[in-house]
Subunit: 203 residues, 2 copies
């Protein structure tokens, strides 16, 4: 019966589409791309947004340094090429999660406009939500939760964004979060409100 | 108030755990790793399993050549190093989907035992389900849905698995599908039965 099986292999197609997955989840997928300086609160706000959406019954995931740098991107360093490849891979993985109907947040400095625009370009219109988590170097340096600014000032970290390497501000981000003067919970609520007002939380 | 915001950045942690996501989905995540020759029916069975699980209300995703080779792994070729890196990245992405509580199927030849075992090793026990989609070269060559065997025999494709490159059979796969003598739907039902009988479809 191999011939008949062979026929099946070519003919049967049961692909579940992106639209099918969105319909089942009750909402579309989206890639919430947090960008900003180290210490601006990207990861903390992203995880809080993820938590809030999860409590609302949405299907969510967070991609951040914790699960990317030690896994998928562990063979990348910090050269300009590797930084771009780092962002490209995260963007492609984000795209797969969006295809699965998941509201995915990413929290990476992603200092270069071209890299962020590249990620935007591989997603469908509306799927990429650029969230500029804006804080002055001064604010971030005062926080310095991981002691990185101290090391950068001491020259122990080369090419540190905001100190010895550039951060290119987004030109038309979907959202700007004022992390100099607002707290985590307020900023997270702003993101959820944006998603709600722009139809992201419906199918 | 920057100081107080700074405190928030360090202190607030709202991480949604893998267990939280599984509980919400009503089932655990798992990586269903289909391996076998080109033409053995990996992708078709994988997509059918995905479709069946989706109909059952499970959260699922398929990673296959269609969405990986043109995206995340488009900068990889077919050298031994690139083949290993191809599988490594797919494994890492699969791990992220499992973390998100998604039952994820992958459909790649993945001919080397060491590569598949590497993927198994980065997942928690039970999360990696190796599904050997077993068909003879003869069966696959008769099907040849993409005309690849013909090209390989003509020498147009070098190092073609099963013809001019080795396929290392799994030693202890969780499941062996007899694709020489059974049809797509029967094989897909076997996979779903395995998952049901082994607790994969519950939280």
């Amino acid at each position: 019966m191999a011939q008949q099986v062979a026929t099946n292999v070519t003919w049967h197609e049961h692909k579940v589409s992106k639209a099918d997955r969105a319909k089942k989840n009750g909402h579309k997928g989206a890639l919430l791309w947090f960008t900003g300086l180290s210490g601006a609160g990207k990861s903390t706000v992203a995880n809080t947004v993820d938590h809030l959406l999860n409590e609302m019954g949405k299907h969510t995931m967070v991609l951040d340094g914790d699960n990317i740098r030690m896994g998928l991107n562990k063979n990348l360093g910090f050269s300009p090429e590797d930084r771009s490849e780092n962002i490209r891979r995260i963007g492609e993985v984000g795209k797969l999660f969006v295809e699965a109907g998941v509201i995915t947040t990413t929290a990476f400095i992603s200092p270069y406009r071209a890299d962020r625009d590249m990620v935007r370009s591989i997603l469908a219109p509306g799927e990429f939500v650029e969230i500029y988590t804006k804080a002055s170097v001064d604010t971030c340096e005062k926080r310095d939760p991981k002691g990185l600014y101290k090391k950068a000032r001491a020259g122990e970290i080369k090419e540190f964004t905001g100190i010895s390497a550039p951060y290119e501000e987004p030109e038309k981000p979907e959202l700007v979060l004022d992390s100099d003067s607002k707290g985590i919970d307020e900023l997270a609520q702003e993101v959820v409100a944006y998603l709600k007002n722009n139809g992201y939380l419906e199918a």
